[in-house]
């Protein structure tokens, strides 16, 4: 008999989902959170989920938005890329959220993008990425390549006198694109072909012996050499360890990384990393009132005095602030109105100064370069004069140098070709 009950139970519960009545709650504004809480990306993304929750809580303390309370709806796409599309659809159609904060990896963003465009959702994407995209439904608050990679290379070139370049990355789209842009940029700046070495390794690569030895050989040929690393996550520590073991110090061959932040360094033995560099728009060590305040709140919210803050958190913070401002300006959470109201919004950076939302849905932000210290924090050694505007389409790629994004009338297009004066391809 048990089985029959089981079967009926399952049938009923499935039916319940199928025919569930979606409650239409008008008294709250729903904020969707689309970050992986399990799987490989959970390490990074859980922090961002908590950041959004903290911001929601704070906003509610201030009395909510448009007189309504904010309500966070958290789903778990489990680091599984197709699930991002599925969960995105769930947020937009079942939960009817007004905005989504989410995604970390490029592929997860690419996965959810068609859903956002189909259902006219609104998403804030808070991580540095490869660019080459501008969607009406997404605001990119992380750095585009020209806000991270190019300033870093400028610093190495101008301040450290680097002449030979190793572009080392994990084999996926962000490093590929970034390195392509950098290669074009360096060549445009007169660096010879043989002074650039490009290397790709798989995810989680741990045996760096040969590559580090190649870098060592490459760097011993007389010219000052630096490594521009787009190596992802897990592969970093063994890489730096091997550098240390083969006797390469940060003074000999500095490594500037775009994916190593405070979160990644927390709790690690930083000995082999000290002196190497990272380029971000935010460092926890930057002293400003806003930052001190933010760090204190974060530690209180997580109940952990050792928790660190990082760049994608700041990007989430800025995105959230701007969204609330835009909603207030538009007087509604309607996606189209908020999208238009977003453009031109300004919000204080945690590192001082104001961030500005451009017509291409990317931010103007300052760029900082920091040296890794023994305590896992960064010491700012260089920063750009003023703000750098995020560039959706790189000027250094042949396919995209004629493209630009402008979401205001009359162009209203994410990939407008300035030569042919057409908005290529877009169906929306």
């Amino acid at each position: 008999m048990k089985i029959k009950h089981l079967v009926t139970g399952i049938a009923l519960s499935m039916g319940a989902t199928v025919f569930s009545v979606s409650a239409i709650a008008a008294d709250t504004i729903k904020v969707g959170v689309l970050h992986s809480l399990s799987g490989t990306m959970a390490i990074s993304e859980t922090t961002l989920k908590d950041t959004v929750l903290m911001m929601v809580e704070e906003q509610n303390k201030k009395g909510g938005l448009l007189g309504k309370k904010l309500e966070a709806v958290v789903v778990d796409p489990a680091s599984n890329w197709p699930l991002f599309a599925e969960k995105g659809r769930e947020l937009l159609t079942q939960e009817k959220v007004d905005v989504i904060f989410g995604s970390w990896t490029s592929v997860s963003r690419k996965s959810v993008l068609p859903v956002l465009e189909e259902l006219n959702g609104l998403m804030f994407y808070p991580v540095q990425y490869e660019g080459e995209e501008s969607s009406k439904n997404v605001f990119y608050t992380g750095a585009a390549p020209n806000q991270q990679a190019i300033p870093a290379v400028n610093y190495l070139k101008d301040d450290l006198g680097v002449e030979r370049w190793v572009l080392a990355g994990t084999d996926y789209v962000y490093p590929r694109t970034t390195n392509k842009i950098l290669e074009a940029y360096l060549k445009a700046n007169g660096v010879a072909e043989e002074d650039i070495m490009i290397n790709y390794t798989p995810f989680g690569h741990s045996d760096w012996q040969s590559i580090v030895s190649d870098i060592k050989k490459f760097g011993s040929e007389g010219k000052k050499t630096a490594v521009v690393s787009t190596i992802n996550g897990d592969a970093n520590i063994p890489f730096y360890k091997e550098l240390g073991n083969q006797g390469i110090s940060a003074e000999d061959i500095p490594v500037v990384a775009f994916s190593v932040g405070e979160e990644e360094l927390s709790g690690l033995d930083t000995k082999p990393l000290v002196g190497h560099l990272a380029a971000w728009n935010y460092f926890q060590s930057v002293e400003s009132d806003a930052n001190t305040d933010f760090i204190a709140k974060w530690k209180a919210f997580t109940g952990n005095p050792k928790r660190v803050t990082n760049d994608p958190m700041e990007a989430t913070y800025i995105g959230f602030k701007m969204w609330t401002q835009a909603v207030e300006k538009a007087g509604t959470t309607d996606v189209d109105s908020v999208e238009q109201a977003m453009i031109g919004q300004e919000t204080e950076n945690l590192t001082g100064g104001m961030a500005y939302m451009n017509k291409n849905h990317h931010l103007s932000k300052p760029v900082l370069i920091g040296e890794i210290q023994e305590d896992g924090q960064f010491e700012v050694v260089w920063e750009t004069e003023g703000l750098v505007a995020g560039d959706a389409w790189s000027d250094f790629l042949p396919g995209s140098k004629d493209l630009m994004a402008d979401w205001t009338a009359p162009i209203s297009c994410g990939n407008y070709n300035v030569v042919t004066k057409t908005c290529s391809g877009q169906t929306y």
């Binding site: 520590i237 033995d269 040296e371 210290q373």
Partner: protein, 531 residues
């Protein structure tokens, strides 16, 4: 042969009492606490040339990132952490300052530019160090930046130098300078001839420049000859280097696979949770270091037996609770142990957080042995190769010489007969499984020195381990050894040609094809399978 970890040799406890700074130095020191990071270099340069107290201790402390100042009076102090406790002491007198606390001091920051300068400056000061090896390193670190004052320093030092090896590097330095700056072609030619035989990268770069740019033909010819010689040497050492990389990768594969060679090869039990046994061993190392923070240097020696116990026990439990009930059903065993591996991974994630945990490398395993400027062998890899071979030998001994080994072999050959002979087969099974898992735990200790200690550690090695065991021939420990090193070396020789990703794909595809050609592996066990 000099220890490559130059930095560390520099840092060995700051030297004894120094005299207090002179009046000329005082304001400079004060300035050091005030200037911005970007303006600190000139201050340091003035300090180096100033007379009075020896600035070596200041520079060394600063390079190590231990230089702080007291906010109140801007006096310089050293802050060091020993046995988890922060200690404060005066920079010049080395007297302890118990009155200070964390809030009263501030770090004097250093960046790469300063570190570079500090290192060179220390090298200049160390030209007269008592240890000839330090002197050699000092000269070598000056190679890249030979200016007139430095050359003068070296030239003077050369006059009193007694040690042959130091003389040799100093001569190289002088010749380098001569080649670069001498107006007269014959003088340059002499320099080039003096450089012959040196493998230093700077020498090669200088020769390359000469070949391209030198106006005198004779110099160009001599330089070309020198370059050819270096290239020949470089090729040979490059080969040795690759061989070493291959052996090192092979030893890692051997460590990861050898436990599996027992559970899979000898017992015929497929254990998908083998990787997690490795992971447990690595986490044991982490916990040992966490509990005994002042004993990092010895932590590995404690971890090895402990990891063996932890993983071994886990293995025995796994055998008793799950695998025993699935005897003779290999496919089901595979699935159940895979389930166990998922549970163990998640357990570690819950207990230790999903973040990678860092296991510190003891000093004696850091750095490398530099055979010559073209060939240096990293110490941690060397130790791990030796360790892998040691574990392999011990395991062979256990299987050949102990009663457990005898029982294991008996049971694996004919279970029923062994049972009839009074061998408690179920106990032997559990012990064998424990042994295999324990060795996986030991492998975990070794791997913690090379890679990230995280919940996915085991997964990264499981497929490779199976490949090694299957390739070598199941049930043959020597086969495992040969297979591990073959695959390691093949991988490393392919890598420069194809890139890391394609190399591992090619090796995988090769094994897949190989197994289909020879299903029993490299060293098959012939015989009539008992039906």
């Amino acid at each position: 042969m000099a220890i490559g970890g130059f930095l560390f040799s520099l840092l060995v406890s700051t030297s004894t009492l120094a005299e207090p700074p002179s009046t000329a130095q005082q304001p400079l020191l004060m300035q050091l606490t005030e200037v911005k990071l970007s303006k600190a270099l000139p201050v340091l340069q003035q300090l180096e040339t100033s007379t009075g107290a020896d600035m070596m201790v200041l520079f060394k402390t600063m390079l190590a990132g231990k230089l702080y100042y007291v906010k109140e009076d801007r006096s310089l102090i050293v802050v060091s952490k020993e046995a988890g406790e922060t200690r404060y002491s005066d920079l010049f007198s080395a007297e302890p300052r118990h009155d200070l606390s964390k809030k009263q001091v501030k770090k004097i920051k250093v960046n790469n530019k300063l570190r570079g300068y500090l290192r060179e400056s220390i090298a200049r000061m160390q030209l007269h160090h008592t240890d000839p090896e330090v002197r050699v390193e000092a000269v070598r670190s000056l190679f890249s930046d030979l200016d007139k004052p430095t050359i003068e320093l070296i030239r003077t030092a050369r006059l009193d130098e007694q040690s042959r090896s130091v003389q040799a590097v100093m001569d190289v330095a002088l010749a380098l300078y001569r080649v670069k700056h001498a107006e007269d072609a014959t003088e340059r030619l002499e320099g080039v001839n003096a450089l012959q035989g040196s493998l230093e990268p700077e020498v090669r770069n200088q020769l390359t420049l000469l070949v391209a740019n030198d106006p005198a033909r004779s110099v160009r010819k001599a330089a070309q000859k020198g370059l050819d010689k270096i290239a020949q040497q470089a090729e040979m050492y490059g080969f040795i280097n690759q061989l070493f990389f291959g052996l090192s990768l092979g030893s890692v594969l051997l460590l990861a696979a050898i436990g599996l060679a027992i559970t899979f090869g000898v017992m015929g039990v497929i254990n998908m949770a083998h990787g997690e046994m490795i992971m447990l061993g690595a986490y044991t190392t982490y916990v040992v270091q966490l509990l005994l923070p002042e004993m990092i240097e010895y932590s590995l020696w404690i971890s090895v037996p402990l990891a063996f116990l932890v993983s071994g026990l886990a293995g025995v439990l796994l055998e008793r609770l799950v695998i025993r009930h699935l005897h003779g059903r290999p496919l089901e065993t595979l699935l159940a142990t895979f389930g166990i591996s998922l549970i163990l991974q998640q357990l570690v994630r819950t207990v230790f957080s999903p973040l990678n945990r860092q296991v510190a490398t003891p000093e004696w395993m850091s750095g490398s042995i530099e055979i010559n400027p073209l060939l240096s062998l990293t110490l941690n890899r060397l130790y791990i190769i030796a360790f892998a071979l040691l574990v392999f030998m011990l395991l062979l001994l256990v299987l050949k010489k102990t009663s457990l080994g005898l029982n294991v072999r008996a049971v694996s050959q004919n279970r029923n007969m062994a049972k009839a002979m009074g061998i408690r087969t179920d106990r032997v099974d559990a012990m064998t499984f424990g042994l295999g898992s324990g060795i996986a735990g030991i492998a975990g200790v070794a791997l913690s020195q090379l890679t990230n200690v995280g919940p996915n550690l085991g997964q990264a090695y499981i497929i490779d381990s199976f490949m090694v065991v299957v390739f070598g021939g199941v049930g043959n420990l020597w086969g495992t050894l040969v297979a591990a090193f073959t695959l390691g070396i093949a991988n490393k020789f392919l890598e420069p040609v194809t890139g890391a990703v394609l190399a591992s794909i090619l090796v995988l595809v090769f094994i897949i094809l190989f197994i289909q050609k020879r299903p029993k592996g490299l060293f098959p066990q012939k015989g009539r399978a008992a039906e």
